[in-house]
């Protein structure tokens, strides 16, 4: 490895070294605040180092990693989301009994796995990243050991994720058998000119799609989502919905665009089928949910359904749209789960719709951010979600994906119904439920998220310009 290689890997090194240092510190001195502060600083440093790295990219570390603007964008999104989740976790984790400092160590390892996915150029890194991410997530999901449904969710995720990893690995093996290389570039070279793909390669892609589909919670691999979202601590649900999904999306987009999957009839049908199924099933199952965490889980299924439309556009503009969509979706999801996390205590998780009855009249500020998040998920103007949906629709229509876009529109209306139900609840007459006191960090985080949703909704021009200027594959 050269000096330049190391330079380019600074953000990764920071994310990798930080948990080790925390481990050392924890073995000497257990202090929640110190560990928390150190985590925040390290994440900030990692984010800052991206700008430090920028001048020396694009850069490829043969044969495993590729560092380009696209991956840096994703890396930035992932780190910011991890940072916001860390902010939200402060109060939530603080009140748990038993050891708590390890939570931040695992946040780091999972973030490391996620960031690896953003730069992977080889099946090995792909798999390594996904496994690092998954194994950390098992622990995070089951972090509230005293709660039975937290453990249940952890085990569910453990078993299903292992199975899906097996599928992914088997798919990679099949492709390796057919082509003899695991580097993305070689795979493309071997595939060009073979338009019906050989059976081996096709089954390989199919198996990989199962693995990736599981991680993104796409129908029909979505069964784990509601249970895990419900059982996991609220900040961890936010982490799964943002960091984990975003990273997998990053590699999926890169891989799909490199192999030009959109030109392949077989993959085209598979992806559009999955997309339509995810939208409809996700939204329809959410309609009658009474538990907000489950509801958000189903809504995330639908949202991933919207997002993979982008895969079929086959243009850089599509990728740009997907990045904007992800940014908007991340803020929105963190806002929604953040409010749940802030209102939950160790004894009582605020997850039923009734728990939010009349929230607006008791805690106007967080209820407002919650409303904004829900409106953003529904894609109503003034929020980031609207511009994001508009961007996806625009690129989808440009690529002529009329059926998919029409399904997306229909689903937006279905989705509206259950988001409205929550909003109505927020504004109805308050109930007698006692609410916990809100901390300053929580309020600030929520404020950041709320303002970001508004800014991206009202004045998104600068971000879109930025993305269009720099991001391409």
């Amino acid at each position: 490895m050269t000096e330049r290689d190391f330079l380019c890997l600074t953000p990764f090194l920071i994310i990798a070294i930080a948990p080790v240092m925390i481990m050392v510190v924890v073995s000497v001195l257990r202090n929640y605040k110190v560990v928390y502060g150190f985590s925040v600083l390290s994440l900030l440093a990692a984010f800052g180092s991206i700008f430090f790295v920028l001048p020396s990219i694009p850069h490829t570390i043969e044969p495993l990693l590729i560092l380009d603007v696209y991956s840096m964008f994703f890396l930035g999104i992932i780190i910011i989301s991890a940072l916001l989740v860390t902010f939200l976790s402060y109060d939530y984790i603080k009140q748990l009994e038993g050891v708590r400092e390890e939570y931040f160590i695992i946040i780091f390892t999972s973030t490391l796995g996620a960031s690896l996915l953003a730069v992977a150029n080889h099946f090995v890194i792909f798999f390594l990243g996904i496994e690092t991410l998954s194994i950390s997530l098992y622990i995070l999901i089951a972090f509230q050991r005293s709660k039975s449904n937290s453990i249940e969710a952890g085990i569910k995720y453990l078993i299903l994720a292992s199975v899906s990893s097996a599928f992914l690995l088997f798919g990679m093996a099949l492709i390796y058998t057919a082509i003899g290389s695991m580097q993305f570039g070689d795979i493309v070279a071997a595939l060009t000119g073979h338009d019906p793909l050989s059976l081996l390669v096709r089954s390989g892609f199919g198996m990989m799609m199962v693995g990736v589909g599981f991680k993104l919670a796409l129908v029909p691999f979505h069964m784990w989502t509601p249970d895990v979202y419900q059982g996991a601590p609220a900040p961890v649900s936010a982490f799964i919905a943002t960091v984990s999904k975003g990273a997998v999306m990053a590699i999926l987009i890169r891989f799909f665009f490199i192999i030009k999957g959109f030109n392949n009839h077989y993959l085209f049908i598979v992806v559009s089928g999955i997309s339509i199924l995810s939208m409809f099933l996700g939204n329809i199952l959410a309609l009658r949910q009474k538990n907000i965490k489950r509801l958000l889980g189903y809504s995330s299924i639908a949202n991933m359904g919207y997002l993979i439309i982008i895969l079929l556009t086959g243009s850089n503009k599509g990728i740009q749209a997907s990045i904007f969509y992800l940014i908007a979706y991340f803020f929105t999801t963190i806002g929604a789960f953040g409010v749940i996390a802030l209102l939950s205590t160790n004894e009582y998780e605020a997850e039923k719709i009734e728990d939010f009855k009349g929230l607006f009249w008791k805690r106007p500020f967080i209820a407002l951010v919650f409303t904004l998040s829900l409106l953003s998920l529904a894609g109503i103007p003034v929020t980031a979600g609207f511009i994001a949906k508009f961007y996806v629709i625009l690129e989808g229509m440009k690529a002529g994906l009329i059926v998919l876009i029409i399904s997306m529109i229909i689903n937006s209306v279905i989705g509206l119904y259950y988001y409205l139900r929550i909003i109505t609840m927020l504004f109805s007459t308050p109930s007698e439920i006692k609410l916990p006191k809100l901390s300053i960090t929580g309020n600030i985080t929520i404020a950041i998220v709320g303002i970001s949703i508004l800014v991206l909704g009202i004045y998104p021009g600068w971000l879109i310009d930025l993305i269009i200027r720099f991001v391409s594959l």
Partner: protein, 537 residues
């Protein structure tokens, strides 16, 4: 810049009243009143300063918003939007005043929503960028949803959900249509833009034009509403607080009508002519069916809501008649309906405050108790049935004359609506103010505040009925502009479409003579005689 100020002032007022609402109840009301008055004064000052000119747009301002997609902050004002804006601010002030005693909880947030809706409506009337238009179109939905859902009557939740889902679903269809238009224009010319002025005159195949127009129509016809898509309206109107009903009936419905005039006709000149027979039929169906339903109601507020369906039928009929007379009628009808139906809703609200029921069968003989209220009720019932001398008469008559030129049968059927209107309007007076006392109510007459509101509305409707010329003059250039677009296309490719023969014949013959002196003098004669007809009253 004045156009941006108008919206910014409203938004600032909205946030201010929300913040100040935490202190006490009086501040939000005063702030709202002041912001709306500033806007009204600004726009009136502007009217007084402006010299009449032949420019298409009195003010036109364009700033970049999202340049990557060709989206700009393009606001412009012409006569039509001017008239609608004055109506908006005037009724905005009224709605603040009538809520003075009615709304007592969460006052700050109420006025926040009220001003936000008005800002959205103002934006809709001013936008000349389709994306911006959609943005404002949706912006007025959410606060309206809250207005119905928080301060409404018993079934408010269901009503507000219904309202939101109907309008949002149809709005999304329009959104798809807007994006399609963007691509059709972009592919044809190479410049991708949402700018209205550039999208005007986009060449497209008849079938494409029809599909895209359908998306726009969906949004506008649901808002208007047209019969069969009107389901949300009675619920929303009935359950909303008085100010909400007033804004819904007087302003929100008008955005649909405005959309037809501003977008459907100029953007799809030939497709809209093709659609005209169906459009006129929908209009007539609305007039008659709405009137029938209105007659059948026992809930007074619901009754008034259905009269809206009937009155807006005239607007649809007029829009699809494609001639100047009808369009002038449409403008007058929009304003007059806003004032008269708004006044009726206010009346219902005042009654409800006093006797806590809207059931017609429990009312009766209230004239003795509240003669002033009775008189006001009588005036606006008369306006609703189209009595000469009041605004609605001018609007409906002009529309009927215009429609007669386009389609005699439809016009005749529509005029039956006037009889139906007489029946239901008289029924209001009969059931509420005259007749037997079904229940002995204890109630007092209008207070000074209510008298002022009612008086200003009476003056407005009388002014519109006796001297409609200022409104007609203001809107005339905008109407001619809309019709000219129509004319160019109709002449460019005559015979290329399958249209109701009679319609195209009449449209063309009318348009050919439109610019001659004779035709103009006929028209002005027509209007003058209308005015002289009213003057004895």
């Amino acid at each position: 810049m004045i156009l941006i100020y108008l919206i910014v002032i409203l938004l600032t007022g909205a946030f201010l009243s929300w913040i100040m609402g935490k202190r006490n109840q009086i501040w939000p009301r005063i702030i709202s009143l002041v912001t709306l008055s500033i806007d009204l004064i600004l726009i009136i000052l502007f009217v007084l300063q402006t010299v009449p000119s032949n420019k298409d747009w009195l003010i036109d301002i364009k700033l970049d918003w999202i340049p990557a997609f060709g989206i700009s902050l393009h606001l412009a004002l012409d006569g039509l939007s001017l008239v609608m804006l004055i109506l908006t601010f005037f009724l905005g002030i009224i709605s603040v005043i009538i809520s003075w005693k009615e709304i007592t909880s969460k006052v700050g947030f109420f006025h926040f929503n009220l001003l936000l809706i008005l800002a959205g409506i103002t934006g809709v009337f001013l936008s000349l960028d389709l994306f911006l238009f959609y943005f404002f179109w949706e912006l007025m939905l959410v606060p309206m949803y809250f207005l119905i859902g928080i301060w409404g009557h018993e079934n408010r939740t269901a009503a507000s959900n219904k309202f939101f889902l109907y309008t949002q679903a149809s709005g999304l269809l329009m959104f798809i249509a807007i994006i399609s238009l963007y691509f059709v224009h972009g592919l044809a010319t190479g410049s991708y833009t949402f700018d209205y002025l550039q999208l005007l005159g986009t060449e497209m195949a008849d079938s494409t034009a029809f599909l895209i127009m359908f998306g726009f129509l969906a949004a506008f016809l649901v808002k208007l509403p047209v019969v069969s898509l009107h389901n949300w309206l009675p619920d929303a109107h009935t359950e909303a607080p008085t100010a909400g009903s007033l804004i819904l009936a007087a302003l929100l419905l008008k955005t649909g009508a405005y959309g037809l005039l501003r977008f459907i006709v100029p953007l799809f000149p030939s497709a809209s002519v093709n659609f005209a027979p169906a459009g006129m039929l929908l209009g007539v169906a609305g007039i008659l069916y709405g009137a029938k339903l209105a007659f059948a109601q026992t809930d007074l507020k619901r009754l008034v809501a259905y009269t809206s369906v009937s009155h807006m039928g005239f607007v649809i009929l007029g829009v699809f008649s494609f001639n100047e007379l009808a369009y002038q009628g449409v403008v007058i009808q929009m304003v007059a309906h806003g004032i008269s139906t708004g006044a009726l809703f206010i009346l219902v609200g005042q009654l409800y405050e006093r006797i806590h029921t809207r059931d017609l069968n429990k009312m009766g003989g209230l004239w003795e108790k509240a003669p002033v209220m009775g008189a006001i009720g009588l005036i606006f019932s008369m306006a609703s049935l189209g009595l000469p001398g009041l605004g609605n008469f001018i609007g409906e008559l002009l529309i009927l004359i215009g429609a007669f030129k386009a389609n005699i049968l439809m016009s005749c059927l529509a005029s039956l609506g006037l009889i139906a209107a007489t029946i239901y309007s008289l029924r209001i007076v009969q059931k509420v103010f005259l007749g037997n006392k079904n229940t002995e109510w204890k109630m007092n007459d209008l207070t000074l505040r209510e008298k002022v509101v009612s008086a200003s509305l009476v003056i407005a409707i009388l002014w519109l009925g006796l001297f409609p010329k200022p409104v007609l003059n203001a809107a005339k250039p905008a109407i001619l502009k809309t019709l000219n677009k129509q004319k160019e296309i109709t002449f460019q490719n005559p015979g290329s479409k399958t249209i109701d023969d009679y319609l195209i014949l009449s449209t063309q013959s009318f348009l050919t003579t439109k610019n001659t002196k004779k035709a103009q003098s006929t028209q002005s004669h027509c209007i003058n005689s209308l005015c002289s007809l009213c003057s004895p009253l």
